[in-house]
């Protein structure tokens, strides 16, 4: 009973606090954007220096946080991501293999001092906690609920808690000054250095998100702060970043912010003032070897930092980025920032590739890739797309990874196939081509066990490395299926509404489902039932698979009644005679999968007539029976191939007239292959 009252109280007070937050945020003068896009509950002001020899970034950070809730918050929680690389006891190392050897390879972030801006020392209240309470392997090895090191210290140090002397009241702000040193790890995963190349992400003590009732569906009061897991990504407030960064003057800098000023310090160093507004993550990179390419798409200035050897692919990357900007702008919403930075990491820094930081993202390519292999385009479109889901909508990638990676992969498949051709999006070579939607489905249905996990779970709880296939490809496939069911126009309307309503507000799963239900009902009434909750229950929250099968198609001549009729002397024998040109055809259907989806069935008769039947798909078996002058020639479930989630499309149809042509064609190809192989092997004879 307590929760509803809190919730309603919170909702009643929310407008007041939003106005308050707006007032607070509006005090941060607008430089890049015309107006603040988010409530900017956090802002970071930093003065840091990159030491290229020591591989450190150190300096001071002033954090301003405004309590957006109705709670008095008595502690602060920070992500200390770099500590995932500190030692083999971290959650990340425990969930994967330890891939660092030398002392210089490890990384960490040390808090040298922490106090409020008015001078109160907070260091006494600092501790490390493990909110997720377990490392997979530690759970097996140790019996303690919270595993500890022999000296009593906690093992994973990626979440830092700072207990405050005085709680932060609702709507009140706190300013904390942190002096920190970040030792960058050898670049083996996302962040760090590789010789003189630096990709600096997740590099400073970063405040977690304080969630509260009314913020999004199902939110409860408290910090949402998770350890840095091997397969998890991030969740953060939209923030204002003002960073003064000192680095050697011969390094080329790329960042998620805009350069406000640059000063040569005269001692071989330069100080660059950067600013970013309303982004959830601030990453930057520095290298002597970048080649800068600049371009423009409408209001967006594109800055791309390439490796010299990949410069010849610059057009491929930039065109892909422009296509993504245009497509998402038309079908989802406007990209609000006037800048986007594309980073092409060097070969030795590929571990930083294919990652997103809102206004900055890293590409992924290789020298010599033919144009028909669209890896550069795919990675660019995918990583840029995150600006919408991870960046603008800013969903929680720890707890609900499908909302970012899954939705983003869905849009990636749409853009790739739209721009580069349906069924040609990813691979487009002379004898083989694969579309991105096909590729996503292929990866999902091709899993050893497509039922291994539902997609509605925290990112670190996917068994046997199934995170990628379930979160990326399965989600993209069921969203593509949904699109085909409700129409592309309705799907676009869903995303436009979702974007408009939830941009910069951290929506949750139910918020998206609510939008789907609202828009689909508006467009299609109750055609798909009272709502589409069943769809999400089936494909998002459950691991059920779809497989409908046409078991058989059979026809037989219809006969008149025959046999002996009547009693005693009045018995009458009627000879069996067939009805002229009347056939009874039976189409036998079965549901092999556990998931239930309504499907259309196309029945084709020998005289060319066709009937479309609707099946709610609930029963395990169904027979369709027809008495007509023509026999059924073939039957096909889901003839428009809407249900991409169907794990076997081969058994969706049965035809009475055997078609041996595909076998003949591929048999001849196979034979030719064998003959050529024989010739090839004879080279070694």
């Amino acid at each position: 009973m307590k929760k509803p009252s809190n919730l309603s109280k919170a909702r009643a007070m929310l407008p007041f606090f939003l106005i308050l937050l707006f007032v607070v945020s509006s005090t941060n003068a607008q430089v890049i954007l015309e107006k603040a896009l988010s409530d900017r509950t956090t802002s970071y002001k930093m003065d840091v220096e990159l030491d290229t020899d020591a591989k450190t970034v150190s300096g001071d950070l002033i954090l301003t946080w405004t309590n957006p809730s109705l709670d008095t918050v008595s502690d602060l929680q920070f992500h200390m991501y770099l500590n995932a690389f500190k030692n083999s006891k971290s959650t990340m190392f425990n969930e994967g293999s330890v891939f660092h050897r030398d002392e210089d390879d490890f990384g960490f972030v040390d808090v040298n001092s922490i106090h409020t801006l008015d001078g109160k020392d907070l260091s006494a209240g600092v501790s490390f906690i493990m909110p997720d309470q377990k490392n997979h392997f530690q759970e097996l090895r140790l019996s303690e609920e919270v595993p500890t090191m022999p000296d009593g210290s906690i093992q994973d140090e990626t979440v830092m808690r700072v207990v405050l002397d005085e709680g932060v009241l609702p709507g009140e702000s706190i300013q904390v000054k942190i002096s920190f040193t970040s030792k960058l790890p050898d670049l083996k995963k996302r962040t760090g250095f590789s010789q003189n190349y630096f990709f600096v992400a997740q590099w400073f003590p970063k405040l977690a998100v304080y969630e509260y009732p009314g913020m999004k569906s199902g939110a409860e009061s408290g910090w949402n702060c998770h350890q840095f897991h091997r397969s998890s990504e991030f969740y953060a407030n939209h923030s204002l970043y003002e960073i003064d960064l000192t680095l050697p003057d011969d390094y080329i800098l790329g960042s998620g912010g805009m350069v406000m000023a640059e000063e040569n310090l005269g001692n071989g160093k330069k100080k660059v003032s950067l600013r970013a507004e309303d982004i959830v993550d601030f990453a930057w990179t520095a290298s002597k070897d970048y080649v800068v390419v600049e371009d423009q798409w409408k209001h967006v200035k594109i800055r791309a930092l390439f490796q010299a050897e990949h410069l010849y692919q610059a057009e491929r990357h930039i065109n892909a980025l422009k296509e993504a900007l245009a497509y998402l702008d038309e079908h989802v919403g406007r990209y609000p920032w006037p800048h986007a930075t594309l980073i092409d990491p060097p070969t030795s820094g590929q571990a930083a590739g294919g990652m997103e930081y809102t206004t900055l993202f890293t590409a992924g390519t290789a020298y010599g890739l033919p144009k028909g292999l669209r890896m550069p385009e795919l990675v660019t479109i995918h990583e840029f797309g995150h600006a919408y889901f991870m960046g603008i909508l800013a969903t929680n990638e720890f707890d609900e990874p499908w909302m970012d990676e899954g939705m983003n992969t869905y849009w990636e498949t749409r853009i790739m196939d739209h721009v580069y051709g349906d069924k040609h999006g990813v691979i487009d070579l002379p004898f083989i081509h694969i579309g991105d939607k096909e590729f996503a489905r292929f990866t999902y249905v091709g899993m050893n066990n497509p039922k291994i996990a539902d997609a509605y779970r925290p990112s670190w709880e996917f068994p046997h490395g199934s995170y990628g296939s379930v979160i990326y490809q399965k989600t993209a496939t069921w969203l593509n299926t949904l699109e085909r069911m409700i129409s592309t126009e309705t799907m676009d309307e869903v995303f436009k509404t979702y974007f408009k309503r939830w941009a910069f507000k951290h929506p949750g799963t139910q918020d998206f489902i609510d939008v789907v239900n609202e828009v689909v009902t508006e467009h299609h009434g109750d055609r798909f039932g009272e709502n589409l909750d069943w769809y999400f229950d089936t494909f998002l929250k459950d691991d059920k698979t779809v497989d409908y099968k046409v078991i058989s198609v059979s026809s037989r001549r219809v006969y008149q009644d025959a046999g002996i009729f009547g009693k005693a002397d009045s018995k009458l024998f009627i000879e069996q005679e067939s009805e002229e040109d009347l056939y009874r055809s039976t189409v036998a259907l079965e549901r092999l999968g556990e998931a239930i989806v309504p499907v259309d069935i196309l029945i084709h008769f020998e005289d060319g007539t066709e009937i479309i039947e609707y099946w709610n798909g609930k029963d395990r078996a169904k027979d369709l029976i027809y008495e007509r002058s023509s026999r059924v020639e073939w039957a096909c479930i889901d003839p428009e191939m809407k249900i991409l989630m169907d794990t076997n499309l081969l058994n969706n149809s049965v035809t009475t007239k055997a078609n041996k042509k595909p076998a003949l064609k591929y048999g001849s190809k196979f034979m030719f292959l064998i003959q050529n192989l024989m010739q090839l092997i004879s080279i070694f004879s």
Binding site: H310, F431, F442, C636, A658, G667, L677
Partner: protein, 288 residues
């Protein structure tokens, strides 16, 4: 001059070797057919009553192909797992025919009798198998030496993918040169073994290697002249394949005929090459 003479001669030899080309082609055809029939039957059983595989007729269709392979994955797996022994059979077959081919090219004006062809194939079979095995070992050592450096470099920090791709490309090019040269050595070693009719394979490899390196320029020149034809053939086939849509039974049969002509021509070119080298070998002996 000898090189040019040999090259010109090889065309008439090739024309006169239609029968031997056809015999070898038929042997390969039968083996390939033996392997294709179960594949075809398997494919038919999976696909003939479904509408989806028809998508594969117009063009390649990843969805249809993927679901087809997955639906019958285990059946295909069993089929492909037993493939290694066949590779060995192909290798032995390639070796077997050399005896017959050399017998023919050494006396192209004689009448080819199938029995004689077969006798020569079997007569030299084991020594040619030994030769092929030694050459295979040499090929492996050469490949190891060529690729070991790029592989080491890949692990080094600061190496760019451009450097790796270029190094491997150069490696492949060098390997190709060695591959052709080693094959030349093998070809001339076979001629030596045939002519002298002895079993000292290693000794013949050594003699052949010296011979090949002595005549390297000329041999490479005639090889380069010869290689134009197979390359033209491949390009023609590629153009035909990429411009044709094979979706009717007539076209499928047409494609099959085209494929078989291509294979027959490849075999014919192989004999032409052997004849060209043999002619050069003989011309050198006459000169000596």
């Amino acid at each position: 001059m000898k090189a040019l003479k040999s090259y010109i001669y090889s065309f008439s030899l090739s024309w006169n070797s239609k029968k031997i080309s056809s015999i070898i082609y038929l042997a390969y055809f039968c083996i390939a057919l033996l392997l294709t029939i179960p594949f075809y039957k398997l494919f038919v059983s999976i696909s003939e009553h479904s509408l989806l595989p028809a998508n594969l007729l117009q063009d390649f269709d990843a969805t249809a192909f993927g679901d087809l392979i997955r639906d019958s994955g285990k059946a295909f797996q069993v089929y492909f797992k037993g493939f290694l022994p066949w590779v060995i059979v192909f290798w032995l077959m390639g070796t077997l025919f050399y005896g017959g081919i050399i017998a023919w090219i050494s006396n192209p004006n004689g009448t080819l009798r199938f029995r004689l062809f077969l006798d020569k194939c079997t007569q030299y079979f084991w020594r040619f198998v030994r030769l092929a095995f030694y050459m295979l070992v040499i090929q492996a050592i050469v490949a190891l030496l060529i690729y070991v450096l790029p592989v080491i470099m890949i692990g080094k920090e600061g190496v760019t993918d451009q450097y790796i791709v270029r190094t491997i490309s150069i490696g492949i090019l060098i390997h190709l040169v060695f591959l052709i040269t080693i094959r030349l050595i093998a070809d001339f070693a076979r001629f030596g073994l045939y002519q002298k009719n002895h079993h000292k394979v290693l000794k013949e490899i050594w003699i052949s290697a010296k011979y090949v390196f002595r005549h390297l320029g000329s041999l490479w020149m005639i090889y380069m002249m010869w290689v134009i034809m197979p390359m033209v053939l491949v390009v023609i086939f590629y153009i035909l394949r990429t411009t044709m849509t094979i979706d009717t039974t007539v076209l499928i049969v047409g494609l099959f005929v085209l494929q078989q002509i291509f294979i027959w021509l490849k075999i014919s070119l192989r004999i032409q090459k052997q004849g060209m080298y043999y002619k050069y070998y003989i011309l050198c002996q006459v000169e000596d």
